[in-house]
């Protein structure tokens, strides 16, 4: 339990600091690389929550595909490589106040609602039981039985997004 808490503290600190750098850095490429740090530490947090398949998908889809897409976007819009002062608009202070206010409200609500509820301890379970209960197999079973219709709808949505992106981005 202590080891998990230490791991959580480190990962949460890395994720928070990198996230702040994503929205404050003056270099677009650095923002994308800090985003990789956020996504990787969030993926590691999924492992702490016994969701190893989601963690693998996070690494494959987010870091492997989405960040590469972002780097392509940066390249194709010919962003300044290097520091660029014009990345923020002049509502920065209002935005900071909004963000902090929202954080205060959310913190109050969460502390009020969940106080010190603990996640169920899984330490006494065998690895086989844990895998059968919430491992990749259980997730696959759920997707292909209860959530089959949403799964198919999502594949149609991906096709629509693919066609839409091509139609938008191609030259006449």
């Amino acid at each position: 339990m202590i080891a998990q808490n230490i791991a959580f503290t480190i990962l949460a600190a890395v994720a928070t600091l990198a996230a702040v750098r994503v929205v404050t850095t003056r270099n677009v490429v650095h923002a994308a690389l800090y985003l990789v740090m956020v996504l990787a530490s969030v993926g590691a947090l999924y492992v702490l929550l016994v969701a190893e398949f989601v963690a693998a998908v996070q690494i494959l889809i987010y870091i492997g595909a989405i960040v590469v897409l972002f780097l392509f976007g940066i390249m194709l819009t010919r962003a300044t490589i290097g520091a660029d002062a014009g990345l923020d608009n002049d509502q920065r202070w209002i935005a900071a106040v909004t963000g902090l206010f929202l954080l205060g409200v959310l913190t109050f609500v969460l502390v009020d609602a969940f106080g010190d509820d603990r996640l169920p301890s899984l330490e006494n379970m065998s690895r086989e039981a844990l895998t059968a209960e919430r491992g990749t197999g259980a997730v696959g079973d759920a997707i292909f039985s209860t959530y089959l219709v949403p799964f198919e709808v999502v594949s149609v949505l991906l096709l629509a997004a693919l066609v839409g992106a091509i139609v938008l981005a191609r030259r006449e």
Binding site: V23, Q58, L106
Partner: protein, 102 residues
């Protein structure tokens, strides 16, 4: 572990993402901030699912997978739109995209 550890981290990531959406003027950076917000949602889904027991944990994972898929679709279309803005105006400054401003 407390469930609030995860939920509060999600709240922090969400608020940082909201700040980014409001304060950035580069279209690509706004999309990156939206990714932060979606990640915060995924942390919440997994933590709350795990809190409710094994069945809900699986449901939380399935929902998180759907959110990741939709995030991928969103980035694809969003970047195509940003690219189109760049092609028409030679800049991705979202403050200049104010055609619909009254």
């Amino acid at each position: 572990m407390l469930v609030n550890q995860f939920l509060l981290l999600g709240a922090v990531l969400f608020c940082v993402g909201v700040y980014g959406v409001l304060a950035r003027r580069n279209g690509v950076l706004v999309l990156m901030s939206i990714e932060l917000i979606l990640n915060a949602v995924n942390i919440n889904l997994l933590a709350l699912g795990s809190l409710q027991g094994p069945q809900a944990a699986v449901v939380g994972q399935v929902f998180a997978l759907f959110v990741i898929t939709i995030a991928a679709a969103e980035v694809g279309v969003g970047l195509a739109i940003v690219l189109l803005i760049y092609r028409n105006r030679h800049s991705v400054d979202l403050d200049e995209v104010d055609l619909m401003k009254g």
